[in-house]
């Protein structure tokens, strides 16, 4: 009798311990974020001051917006390497339209779209690159890695061609042409909050809602989790994938506009290797590269961990070479922990079944 009671109490305590271990594991990225904040808060003077935090958040915003789009693509078990180039080309499109306009040689006139139109056209170009990615992958059966590697080069080349490699500077517009106001994206504020941070909040909120609460979002998860089963359930797999790449293209184009606006200049090499930062943020946030697993909130936290880490290390005076080493180690550690969590989860499920 007494030994019986003993074993049950033992079983009870261990079953209580398991969820705690699992809980810690599932919040590991969030815990990592708190750790980096505390670490830099202690080691770096003024790190937790509001102005510093605002600067960090502005830096994070661009990468986070890219990573949000990337998350949709990775959830479908794809990858989008072209986002960095889309950042470049969307800025160059805006720069061209603001400084050169659209020359209509036939009529001997040049049309200058206003800033809203300019932004819309740039976003459209980015979304179109995403559409091309999607069509290549679904209609022509090109592997996502290859298709977007191709468009990475094509879009970068196109960005360089628009100006022959030159930078469009001083993108403030001309009151006579009615195209002023572009710098607002990068340096404007809404109720005292920098516009790019507001934009990030809006992007994140909409994306989180779409992923979790709409049929499209559910279909994205289903396609990434098991494409065949999704197709058999009537999910239009190709359409879902194309939309995912278009979302990614749109997010990248927006990020490109924010960067061009912050600098008040469009540089054709802008956004190089940004795709890797975006993938890193998504993976750090728990998105599985094999598809079907991940959340927008996770990606957001992942982007903040990377952003806080790199800004904090700069303020600490760590050399940029060491920064790269540290960033790489953090990414690998994140994935290793992710695998450990999966194994833990599976083992607990097995044990629970055995009783």
């Amino acid at each position: 009798m007494s030994s019986d009671a003993l074993t049950t109490s033992k079983a009870g305590s261990s079953s209580r311990r398991r969820p705690i271990a699992l809980l810690l594991m599932s919040f590991r990225t969030f815990i990592a974020l708190i750790v980096v904040f505390v670490f830099f808060g202690v080691t770096t003077p003024n790190f937790l001051d509001i102005p510093t935090l605002v600067i960090v958040a502005k830096h994070v915003a661009v990468n986070a917006i890219l990573a949000i789009g990337m998350t949709f693509v990775i959830l479908t078990a794809g990858i989008d390497l072209s986002v960095g180039s889309i950042v470049g080309i969307s800025g160059m499109v805006a720069g061209t339209l603001l400084t050169r306009g659209v020359p209509l040689d036939l009529f001997g006139v040049t049309i200058f779209p206003n800033v809203v139109e300019t932004i819309a056209i740039s976003l459209g170009v980015g979304t179109c690159v995403g559409l091309i990615n999607g069509l290549l992958i679904t209609r022509l059966n090109v592997a996502p890695f290859i298709a977007t590697l191709g468009t990475l080069y094509i879009a970068r080349g196109a960005a360089l061609l628009t100006s022959d490699g030159a930078t469009f500077s001083n993108l403030v517009g001309n009151p006579n042409l009615g195209n002023t106001g572009f710098p607002f994206l990068g340096s404007g504020t809404v109720l005292g909050i920098p516009f790019s941070i507001v934009a990030l909040v809006v992007f994140a909120a909409v994306a989180a809602y779409v992923a979790a609460r709409t049929p499209f979002g559910r279909h994205v998860y289903a396609v990434g989790g098991n494409e065949r089963a999704a197709a058999l359930s009537g999910v239009r797999v190709n359409r879902i994938k194309i939309f995912a790449y278009m979302i990614s293209g749109f997010c990248a184009a927006f990020a490109g506009l924010v960067i061009a606006s912050e600098l008040v200049a469009a540089h054709p090499a802008s956004g190089e290797t940004f795709e890797l930062n975006a993938i890193a943020a998504a993976v750090l946030g728990g998105t599985s590269l094999s598809g079907g697993r991940g959340t927008i909130a996770g990606t957001l936290i992942g982007a903040f961990v990377i952003g806080v880490l790199s800004d904090g290390l700069v303020m600490l005076g760590v050399s940029s070479f060491w920064q790269m080493v540290i960033k790489g180690m953090v990414i690998i550690a994140a994935v290793v922990l992710d695998q450990m969590q999966r194994r833990m989860y599976r083992r607990f499920a097995l044990e629970a079944q055995l009783g």
């Binding site: 609460r213 709409t214 049929p215 499209f216 559910r218 279909h219 998860y221 289903a222 990434g224 989790g225 098991n226 065949r228 089963a229 999704a230 197709a231 058999l232 359930s233 009537g234 999910v235 239009r236 599985s288 598809g291 079907g292 697993r293 599976r346 499920a349 097995l350 079944q353 055995l354």
Partner: protein
Amino acid sequence: MTTSASPAHDVILRAEGVGKVFPGTIALQDVDFEVRRGAVNVLVGENGAGKSTLMKILAGATAPSTGRLVLRGAPVVFQSVRDAARQGIGIIYQELNLCPNLSVAENLSLIDPPTRFGFDIDGHRQVEKARALLARLEHPIDPNRLVDDLRVGQQQIVEIAKALAADVDVLIMDEPTSALSAAEVEILFKVIKDLKAHGVAIIYISHRLEEIMRLGDYITVLRDGRRQADALVKDISVDWIIERMVGSTGLVSQGKAGDLGANALTVVNVSLPRAAGGFLVDHVSFSVRTGEIVCLYGLLGAGRSELFECLMGLQPQALGRIEVGGKDITRLSVAARISQGLVLVPEDRQRDGLVQTLSVRANLTLASLRRFTRLFSLNGTKERSEARDMIRRMTIKVSSPEVEVTALSGGNQQKVVIGKSLMTDPSVILLDEPSRGVDVGAKAEIFKVMRQLSEAGLAVIFSTSDLKEALGYADRIIVMSRGKVAADYRRDEASEATLVEASTAAFPAQERLVS
């Protein structure tokens, strides 16, 4: 039920209290199994009885969760298939494991090719070695031919030769005859006799009971992951095997369906051309009425799954006409067919049925999300409550709808897939081998649900290769053989004998080996 051990054959390999647990299911429990030298040790059991798992453990492909293996009197732990092979255990899987891009000779010396100076592959000796092996099997296939260019039967011969290439003491054969023609089967039997004479222990797994009676020396019956019985083959009959395999929980025939309604599904001349010529589905026509349960009976490869895929719109090359409720759906997409009331529960639920990363709830509602959508937004409350209703209706054993679907047992996963199809409000439901890999209790529940559905006015079509299921649960049985409809019986016209005969009707002599 213990074997009267024959002194002629000593035990070379023994499994003692072996068990295997997978997430969601217990595949094998406390099984003892003796493998005797110079004899054919037969392993039988229904689908999902644990044969494949036991075989994989013996071959080192997977480690047992409990119990141990004893080889030549000493306990062993196999690290891998290669490790087991080094210790003299060979295996021929049911699915072929050859590299189609390599030649026969290269496949036969894949692991350990003959070399000059230890690294330069000696192509000449490799070919000679292959030629010798194939000659031993009386099958002079040109060793330089690509495996891809061989017929399936010939590939099977190569597979056997590959197992013989390593000197084996124990050879495991998992349904080696399922892809062979009659002539090839004879050759295989001769090879087996030859191996026996050389003292090799054969573990033979098959569904074909006549073969077992002809070939076997010892027989072990598995049921639901446990050892049910074992005996000497000469002491027993086919009936004895069936009784042990199926047990007293035999399927009880269900009551006759109510009145049949109008035609729910009409299939006219549906064909699926095969890439290599001929047809996988060969001009199939039939119709099913509302309230009717029709069984599509046939052997492996009869074209049942392919027919279902044609009906569901998964085969773009399919020909013919398909009507649901009098409406032509031949040109429609999968999604449109679902909204017309047709739905498929696929054979392979892991590959085609479930999204493993999603919860039970999300899997259940995946095909019917439109029902829960207002404007752009999913109505979470409604989704959850309907998912809960379906869990209750299908008696899915799960603690919460939010549990990941992979945590469920095979039978409960199958119920989730069926539940998902029911949530689309179908008028015709196709179930491809619904009882595959499902335990006996869940099997009975699944067939009970099918009867309820037919009583509610659905047309139910299920496929099976199990005679008892065909005779026990269907109102009508359509027999398929080699892609054709071989027979169409009402239940009272059909018997085991007529079904077996019809299902092999298309086989005779036409399929002799051409090498």
